[in-house]
Amino acid sequence: MSKKPETKLTRRTFVAGTIGAAAAFSARPVLAAGKTLNVLSHKVHQTVLGSGDGDLLKDWLKAKDVEIAFTTFDSNPLQDRLFREASLKETEYGVGYLIDNRPTSQIAALFEPLEPYQKQDPIEDFADIAPGLVQGMTVDGKLIGIPVRHATQGLFYNEALLEEAGISAPPTTLEELIAQAKKTSFTSKAGTPVTGMVLASDLAVFPVMFARAYGGDFVSSDFKLVPNREAMESGLAALRGMFEAGSLPRSYATTKNDDQVTWLQQGRAAFTILPFARGAQLNNPEQSKYPGKIKAVEFPGSAAIKGKVAMASVVEAWAMAIPRNARDKALAWSFIKEVSSKRVTLGMAINGNGPVRVSTYADAGLKAKNALAAVEAKVLATARGAFPPFPEAARAQATFLEEVQLAVLGRKPVKDAVSAIIERVKPMMPA
């Protein structure tokens, strides 16, 4: 009984404390904007739009009295989330960023057809946006996304580390790349242990590039699964060989896309495969220990295909789409229209975005800022997507990557892994 007053006091102070804390939090100044546009995207999409004084959308935000709230995820989780949101009765998100290899007929039906918007309130000089990219976002005759970024993969290298290892020029064949990666797996002058090449293990892009370097593929654009078995085997054997030689990080299995950027910036790896547009970020003096030293070339094909077949690097295109169940579609379209304008496209390109407008490449300011524009334009000419869209593509990609990881880590002979890829992915292919 003597406990009674004490416990009462505890409860009262507890409740009072909670209310006090809640009040303190709500007192935090919130930007008083009239509306909020929720955008679901990758972090990089937010970054290229700039921030603070460099915010490319600041006039639009002021004019519309809008605040943008980005929710960002890594590529695959982002797509999972976007489709889940778009399948609801209503979603908070006005705009979602969509990768070109995901919209099947079923998925496309979750998004608003955009021709009517374009007709009513057109985007500036729409014909200037690369027609191939617009085509990729047209499903069942309906335009469901406005292209906003293309990411064409190139081979990045740290010139300073190559020099330290006595290498004077970047590789021109895959065989040379493998040899150079081995040479640059050393301890640099700065005392940092360097791994020749860093690659993420959760994206199909990289094994697909290695298979293509031998003239093969994972799923071709006409839906042939592993059209050239030997090429796939050679590609995976090359990756396996690099891992064995220590030219790939031992933590390969948990390495993510963002790690590639960090490793290059910190001088922990000499080579990586990333979109050309990342050049600016890799050389950013605020983040990089090697500003101006990180350069890029086309990812080289093997000696076997050199001069016979053009290397088909992977290009991935992103588009802005409006979920059918979005609340304020007019506001979403207004955002898309502004981001697609020539001015913002150029601004984003300078910030490291792969521009979707043909005219942007001609800009002198960009050429001065982005030395890679010319190489990129050349690689883009023969590039294609990692694989075409089909309903079970997500599962097919996961299965492919599982077998690739087993082969690279040496848990399964390469031949068996390729057999398993063919056998396991076959039932997932469209009829």
Partner: protein, 291 residues
């Protein structure tokens, strides 16, 4: 007599039962229906009978996930109990600053799975983690969790033990405190050694509490999701996937709601079997010291 009473008591009982019915029971039954159909986004469900169960039970990835889960439950939970028991006996043998030590042991209970992952991921970071560096400096083998699946499972196991040891410890310690000191006195007078006293007095009297702690932890370890998801996402090569991650992947990455629902029901059945054993034990124990 009982019925009218029940009717008058209904308003007091309603909130709890309505919540449980609408949030747990009915949805679980809806999962049964889902598991008998094939469906995805933008696709109407079609009845397929037990096909989803066949598909899941025949999937090598499910077998691996189940095996991982079972290994984790068996190894981590028993290890946790052994450590918890040791700590309970240490505390009972008399320690200075006991209250402070008790609070220290309880601290991990307050830590969220997400924060715990942040801590342990950094401590064991293959390049910069202080524990990795310390082990390397001492020429001891490091935990190569980003490469070796077994090491990744070890880290998940360590993490889960760290988070749940407070629970196991408190249950066993409370039971140990409930053993009357006279029993040890009597054992000592009979000339029993420490070990004999432990075997004959401590262990039998702690057994019910230990069994309960075990069952509870079986059930909770079986649903483990966040630790593994945040640490490895099931990788490398899906080799550290547990059943809950398998379910999540089927449902939210591959959008295959049928197989996901079938997996969910397999989880429910296993949990209910364990839960049944638990309730049975309580009933028997409850009779022993009836209130």
């Amino acid at each position: 007599m009982q019925l009218p009473t029940t009717a008058r008591l209904l308003p007091l009982l309603a909130p709890v039962h309505l919540l449980i019915l609408s949030v747990i029971v009915l949805p679980s039954l809806y999962v049964v229906w889902l598991s008998l159909n094939m469906s995805s986004f933008g696709q109407a469900p079609s009845f397929v009978g037990l096909q989803n169960y066949v598909r899941v039970l025949a999937d090598p990835a499910f077998h691996r996930a189940l095996l991982n889960t079972v290994v984790l439950v068996v190894v981590a939970v028993h290890l946790e109990l052994a450590v918890g028991l040791g700590m309970a006996l240490l505390f009972a043998s008399g320690l200075p600053f006991r209250r402070f030590l008790l609070v220290a042991v309880l601290a991990p209970y307050a830590v969220s799975e997400v924060t715990a992952v942040v801590m342990w991921r950094f401590l064991f970071d293959p390049d910069a983690g202080p524990i990795t560096l310390a082990l390397r400096a001492l020429n001891l083998p490091t935990l190569d969790w980003s490469f070796e699946p077994s090491h990744a499972m070890t880290l998940i196991g360590l993490l889960t033990i760290w988070l749940h040891l407070p629970f196991t410890f408190v249950i066993v310690y409370a039971a140990r405190l409930a053993i009357p000191a006279e029993l040890y006195e009597a054992a000592r007078i009979d000339g029993a050694t420490r070990w004999q006293a432990f075997r004959r007095v401590t262990l039998p009297l702690l057994a019910p509490a230990m069994l309960i702690a075990l069952l509870f932890r079986y059930i909770f370890a079986f649903r483990l999701f966040s630790e593994a998801w945040l640490l490895t996402k099931g990788g490398p090569a899906r080799s550290t996937e547990v059943v809950a991650i398998y379910l999540y992947q089927e449902a939210f990455s591959f959008n295959a709601f049928g197989p996901a629902a079938a997996t969910a029901w397999i989880m429910v059945v296993i949990s209910l079997l364990l839960a049944g054993a638990y309730v049975l034990l309580l009933r028997r124990g409850g009779l022993a010291h009836a209130h």
